[in-house]
């Protein structure tokens, strides 16, 4: 089966990609990652052979763009003197709380959580998206949850 027209694909997955990248990189950087994800998807869309697993395929691209964003952020000088500015930027709830904790986890763990709880993928699909096995995908989720349960205090933030 060939791939559907891109417009319908975009309409169906636009909000999913948005929630996914906000979860993985935070609100401030999400717009660029969103744009890069869809441009990359559009570039390789005609070479797709069939329409199975389009959702996993798309979230794989989003993950890769989010990882690029994390890397480039880590290369930027730490904003030690810019604490007031950083605080002023944090206005969106998506930049605070539980998913901010998730973003501090190792890449594989935070990615697995985003696939599972935002992408709503099955472990078999997470495995495809992350190029790993279902067992490893499940382990990543499990380890991430264990860590979060030990550090996350629900009433910490308003």
């Amino acid at each position: 089966m060939t791939v559907p027209p891109f417009q319908g694909f975009y309409d169906q997955h636009r909000d999913l990609v948005w929630r996914f990248v906000v979860s993985l990189v935070g609100r401030a950087d999400a717009e660029d990652v969103f744009q890069e994800t869809w441009l990359a998807a559009l570039r390789s869309y005609p070479s797709l052979q069939d329409s199975a697993n389009l959702r996993s395929w798309l979230l794989t691209i989003a993950t890769s763009k989010a990882t690029d964003e994390h890397r480039s952020r880590n290369r930027r000088p730490a904003p030690v003197d810019a604490v007031p500015d950083v605080a002023a930027v944090v206005t969106d709830p998506a930049d605070d709380g539980l998913w901010a904790e998730v973003r501090a986890l190792p890449p594989k763990q935070r990615t697995a959580l985003a696939h599972r709880y935002v992408g709503d993928l099955r472990y078999a699909d997470i495995a495809v998206a992350m190029g790993t096995t279902p067992a490893a995908a499940r382990r990543n989720v499990y380890e991430a949850l264990t860590k979060l349960r030990s550090t996350w205090i629900p009433n910490e933030t308003p």
């Binding site: 891109f6 975009y10 559009l42 472990y123």
Partner: protein, 211 residues
């Protein structure tokens, strides 16, 4: 891994005691992101087919263009027309109304009785076969307010016997209204057929007779 166990946990998110799904942003993607994306995609030449919908007095028309020119004017519902474009040209079909501003303006003028010929560049790629192409090229030269017959068009396309093939070629005209297949009638004056329905064909003929 026990596949059954996998299915059970996959069907119901039993392990989300932290509320991760609920804590993720519920905000839909901001509208301006779509505009920004389309502008970038267009600039990078990643959109093979751009389409829009023109509100015409005869009903909504789906219009589509490639980098070559106008490739489709369709009476079909948008989802049907878009699926067809995706299959026949490229799956990279996106709604970019401003890419169709030229033909929209010309169609508006035509339906207002202020335009007698279309000037936007055409992309003929959806015309299949040389005979159909000759039929439609000839049809494009039938003047505003005039009519011809299937037999005349068949002869002009080089095969006077091929009235039926001419009818098929006109019926498959991908550029309705702009390539005026509504100006081709049966010998003897019958309306013949029309992709947009015979009422629409008559409306177009009436428009051209009175404007």
């Amino acid at each position: 891994m026990d596949p059954e166990r996998d299915t059970v946990t996959d069907d119901t998110v039993t392990d989300d005691d932290l509320g991760l799904a609920a804590a993720a942003t519920a905000e839909p993607a901001p509208e301006r992101l779509t505009e920004r994306l389309l502008a970038a995609a267009d600039a990078e030449d990643l959109v093979d087919v751009a389409y829009g919908v023109v509100d015409a007095p005869i009903g909504p028309l789906v219009v589509a263009a490639t980098s070559v020119g106008l490739v489709r004017v369709s009476f079909d519902p948008a989802d049907v027309a878009v699926a067809d474009l995706g299959r026949r040209i490229s799956p990279r079909v996106l709604e970019i109304p401003r890419r169709l501003d030229g033909v929209r303006r010309e169609l508006d003028e035509y339906f207002a009785g202020r335009r007698q010929r279309f000037e936007v560049p055409l992309d003929w790629r959806l015309v299949t076969g040389p005979f159909a192409r000759r039929v439609l090229t000839h049809t494009a030269s039938i003047g505003y307010g005039r009519t011809s017959t299937y037999a005349e068009v068949a002869a002009a396309a080089g095969n006077p016997q091929a009235s039926r093939a001419t009818g098929s070629a006109l019926g498959a005209n991908p550029l309705c209204v702009v390539v005026p297949c509504h100006r081709v009638l049966r010998s003897g004056g019958g309306l013949g057929g029309y992709a947009g329905g015979l009422t629409t064909k008559q409306l177009l003929l009436d428009l051209e007779a009175t404007a």
